[in-house]
């Protein structure tokens, strides 16, 4: 994905404003037809192809883990207990990372899952962050590929900033959400936009989820299709996206964003990540 053109932004923003009605739809043939994006040249700075022996944990020089239930379910009343057991996170031997959410009693929680992060191992300001992911599904299942400001330990959320590259609700697996959180626009008031498949669902196949982030823009892509541009003027608060961020991959179960899993939610649910690549602009 070296060059992209963006000229019909006007059309695109009209479509974007219609999203508020909840009925916006895009189909595959439109992307090629109408999107022209500005040319940007990228240089690879970090990647993980998840090569390795099946049943092992991913590269420990690239990934670390959040373990447990956090504070109030990681701030979202999530129900899962995160572990680094291979039953929750492992390489599958085919160059892919598999995160598995399970319905099982573990340390007082009814579900287990995993949350991986590059915190302290890899952090970058600006660039293109992309991952090829096959998402899980089911009511109450909340997969995400997202980033937090690397200064989170000294500057608490939301001031540190959060960029959500991919978030989905498992009861609406045809909708992908891209968001930013920051001071004055966090939690339920985050700046967010959604990309919906008219007759398809994300969990059936791999899709490439990406953001391109610069000093005054964050562009959101699904399969190379730009569906959201966020600029400082769009935000109701301070632009805090001018410092390094680290990446996070996880499946949450339950929580404020997605709601409770039901008895009918199929378990286990897996999120398969083919690769993650990070570029910086040349």
């Amino acid at each position: 994905m070296k060059t992209q053109k963006l000229s019909t932004l006007r059309n695109w923003f009209i479509a974007g404003s219609l999203w508020a009605t909840g009925l916006l739809a895009f189909s595959a043939c439109e992307r090629e037809a109408i999107q022209e994006l500005p040319q940007r040249n990228w240089e690879l700075t970090w990647s993980d192809e998840f090569e390795g022996t099946a049943g092992t944990l991913p590269d420990s020089t690239k990934w670390t883990y959040d373990i447990g239930t956090g504070n109030n379910g990681w701030g979202n009343a999530e129900l899962q207990f995160y572990t680094k057991r291979t039953s929750n996170v492992q390489l599958n031997g085919e160059g892919q990372l598999v995160i598995t959410a399970r319905r099982e009693n573990f340390s007082g929680s009814a579900f287990t899952s995993a949350r991986l992060k590059t915190k302290g191992l890899f952090e970058q300001k600006y660039g293109r962050f992309e991952a090829r992911i096959k998402t899980p599904t089911g009511p109450g299942i909340w997969p995400a590929f997202w980033m937090l400001g690397a200064n989170i330990d000294s500057v608490p959320w939301p001031q540190c900033g959060e960029i959500d590259i991919m978030e989905q609700r498992g009861q609406e697996s045809h909708i992908n959400h891209g968001s930013v959180h920051g001071p004055g626009y966090s939690g339920g008031n985050a700046k967010t936009k959604s990309y919906m498949l008219t007759n398809g669902r994300f969990n059936n196949d791999f899709h490439v989820y990406a953001v391109e982030w610069g000093a005054d823009f964050i562009d959101y892509f699904v399969d190379g299709f730009l569906y959201q541009r966020i600029a400082p003027a769009d935000l109701t608060g301070e632009w805090v996206f001018n410092q390094p961020f680290f990446m996070i991959l996880n499946i949450a179960v339950g929580g404020n964003f997605v709601g409770f899993p039901t008895g009918a939610t199929p378990f286990p649910q897996t999120m398969t990540v083919d690769y993650i690549k990070v570029y910086r602009q040349k």
Partner: protein, 627 residues
């Protein structure tokens, strides 16, 4: 349908390309001549949108209310012109007690381009629709897919029934079918609208399984045995993220066996065992493996009894029989509850014209008579005849568990009582009928038995033939005479027996101040000595006996109500010594041979009296000394 949803969608889009992309029609594609097939069926997806599609016909099921279905203009989905209305009748309505029928295409449709049947449904009240589906063509129903127990309410709800393999539906006539009965005896109405086949991208890929998706193992099968695969289902993830499961017919499956010399499987999913060994039955649906396996562990033919079990002789008045040709049997709900983890399989066979239950792969088997529990409070024992070809030497065993449901007469509630009795060698024997007479007093934990409801057989003998299962009341009178002794007369000194010449002049009822009443009764023509209301009772021999050279005191005794019985030998002095006899007798006559050495210090050169002490009513026969 007045309003087209697709159009409304696209009209809201800033770009109109979507409409064009959705208008792809196969009808304008050119086909080469060689691609033409002899017959092609229309691919029209619609079943009922605003009205009957031109080829659609309706036929009601037999016994249903044939007027249950009508086209309705009043209640429709999304302001469409008409919907289908179904009036479920009240229970016991003379014109039909349920609503059910089939919507057929008279010509057949090619539905191979779709992945689901969809429709909207609502009802006048919350209700459970028994069956909804397609593939029912009033014929072979080869491509049946059925949603069972769909819950509906008063709001319109979209139902999606996944197609397991659309390539099977290239000439399908069974477009839609339904059947359901009243709710709690009362009828109601439901509506269905916008019935059509769709290619839904929002539906997860359908997967299909048999045996409910479980890996199963069936062991102990013999050549000729047949097993029918069941639990065939299609599972697809709905747009809401939950799985929809529907029952499907075997026609969607391609079954295969890993070893056709062990087991074969036909297209209907019937597995036939050919020979000993192990075979894995697997299947694909739409070229995709179901992922589960049924393992067949087959053995060679298992030996069974060639002679029937001993015919019971107990008086029917004293028997409460569960299974026997000799008696009228009480109702038994099932001889195999197939509880979880039970591998037991059972068949009803005949041995020499006698009905026998055969169990295979028995680890344990539940037998239930819950709908009419058994009151065995007046019974004394539990009888079973069993036969096994399996090794019965220790530590192998056979266990009999009886369960009483207690005063509440239902499972649980804290008043259930049970006890298990273990039978092992030498009682347990291989390759012969073993008649078990287990006194109910042996079931010590079974403190109530007015509501017996379960019998559980278990142990380490996987092959079991079972017959003559009954509770019995011990008759105070023996039903048969004591067994006739076969000792040579030359080696016997007889006190009381029809088989020998008895010691002359013996007094069977000397007046020793006893309360016992002594009589003699013929049983089966055999004279038998009876002690009623025994406290003690003497016998004065007609002459003093020198028993030197003889080894045993033999006697046959019978008592169902005695709890204490001892026999004494007495020599002048008097010098006496007792031997304790086991009472009550649980299996008819008890024959004992007591070594005379047990009676030391009695002078065996000069025995002149015998004495019995104890209680109850005792039948005695064949009292004799022998070599």
């Amino acid at each position: 349908m007045r309003t087209n949803t697709t159009n409304r969608f696209t009209s809201m889009l800033a770009f109109g390309l979507l409409a064009a992309s959705l208008l792809v029609s196969t009808s304008c594609e050119k086909r080469a001549l060689e691609d033409l097939e002899p017959i092609s069926f229309p691919a029209n997806p619609d079943v009922f949108r605003d009205d009957f599609t031109p080829d659609l016909a309706y036929a009601a099921f037999g016994g249903s209310d044939v007027r249950a279905f009508q086209v309705d203009r009043a209640v429709t989905y999304n302001n469409s012109l008409q919907s289908m209305r179904f009036d479920v009748p009240d229970a016991n309505t003379p014109t039909g007690s349920y609503a059910g029928g089939v919507f057929l295409s008279k010509t057949g449709r090619n539905l191979s381009g779709y992945n689901a049947l969809t429709f909207y449904i609502k009802a006048t009240q919350p209700a459970t629709i028994a069956t909804l589906g397609f593939g029912n063509d009033f014929g072979a129903n080869r491509n049946l897919v059925t949603l069972s127990g769909m819950q509906v309410n008063t709001n319109w709800k979209k139902v999606i029934i996944p197609i397991p393999d659309a390539t099977k539906l290239s000439a399908e006539k069974g477009l839609f079918y339904y059947a359901t009965g009243p709710e709690n005896g009362r009828g109601y109405t439901f509506w269905i609208d916008e019935v059509r086949f769709e290619k839904l991208g929002t539906l997860g890929a359908a997967t299909s399984v048999f045996n409910g998706g479980r890996d199963t193992v069936i062991s102990g099968l013999e050549p000729g045995d047949r097993v029918t695969i069941s639990g065939m289902q299609v599972i697809a993830n709905l747009p809401t993220g939950v799985n929809q499961v529907a029952d499907i017919s075997p026609n969607y499956f391609n079954f295969s066996t890993s070893d056709s010399s062990v087991a074969r499987v036909d297209a209907a999913g019937v597995v036939t065992v050919i020979g000993p060994g192990t075979a894995n039955i697997t299947a694909t649906v739409n070229q995709k493996p179901t992922g589960n396996t049924m393992r067949i562990n087959a053995v060679g033919s298992v030996p069974g009894p060639v002679i029937k079990a001993p015919v019971p002789t107990r008086d029917a008045a004293n028997v409460l029989s569960l299974y026997s040709n000799a008696y009228n049997n009480v109702p038994v709900d099932t001889w195999n509850t197939r509880w979880q983890f039970s591998t037991a399989d059972n068949t009803f066979i005949q041995v020499q014209g006698d009905d026998v239950i055969r169990y295979k792969s028995l680890n344990f088997v539940g037998i239930e008579f819950t709908s009419q529990t058994i009151n065995a409070t007046t019974m004394d024992g539990f009888h079973l005849d069993i036969w096994t070809p399996d090794n019965t030497t220790a530590p192998n065993n056979f266990k009999v568990l009886l369960v009483d449901f207690g005063p509440n007469n239902v499972f649980g509630g804290g008043d259930d009582k049970s006890h298990e009795v273990t039978i092992a060698a030498p009682t347990l024997k291989s390759n012969q009928w073993v008649s078990l007479d287990i006194p109910l007093s042996s079931f010590t934990g079974l403190t109530t038995r007015a509501n017996l409801a379960q019998l559980v057989l278990s142990g380490t003998i996987p092959n079991l033939y079972l017959d003559n299962v009954y509770f019995y009341k011990m008759s105070t009178v023996p039903s048969a005479p004591a067994p006739t002794p076969t000792y040579s007369a030359a080696t016997v000194v007889s006190v009381f027996s029809d088989a020998y010449t008895n010691i002359a002049g013996t007094n069977l009822n000397p007046v020793w101040g006893q309360a016992t009443v002594v009589t003699q009764v013929p049983i089966g023509g055999n004279n038998t000595l009876v002690y009623s209301n025994l406290n003690y009772q003497g016998i004065e021999l007609g002459s003093n006996q020198n028993l030197n050279g003889l080894n045993f005191l033999h006697l046959d005794y019978y008592s169902v109500n005695s709890t204490s019985l001892r026999v004494f030998l007495i020599s002048p002095g008097p010098v006496e010594k007792s031997f304790t006899l086991t009472v009550p007798t649980t299996a008819g006559w008890n024959s004992v041979d007591i070594p005379l050495s047990n009676f030391s210090p009695v002078n065996l050169n000069n025995v002149f009296q015998l004495k019995f002490e104890g209680n109850g009513t005792i039948y005695l026969d064949n009292i004799l000394f022998r070599l």
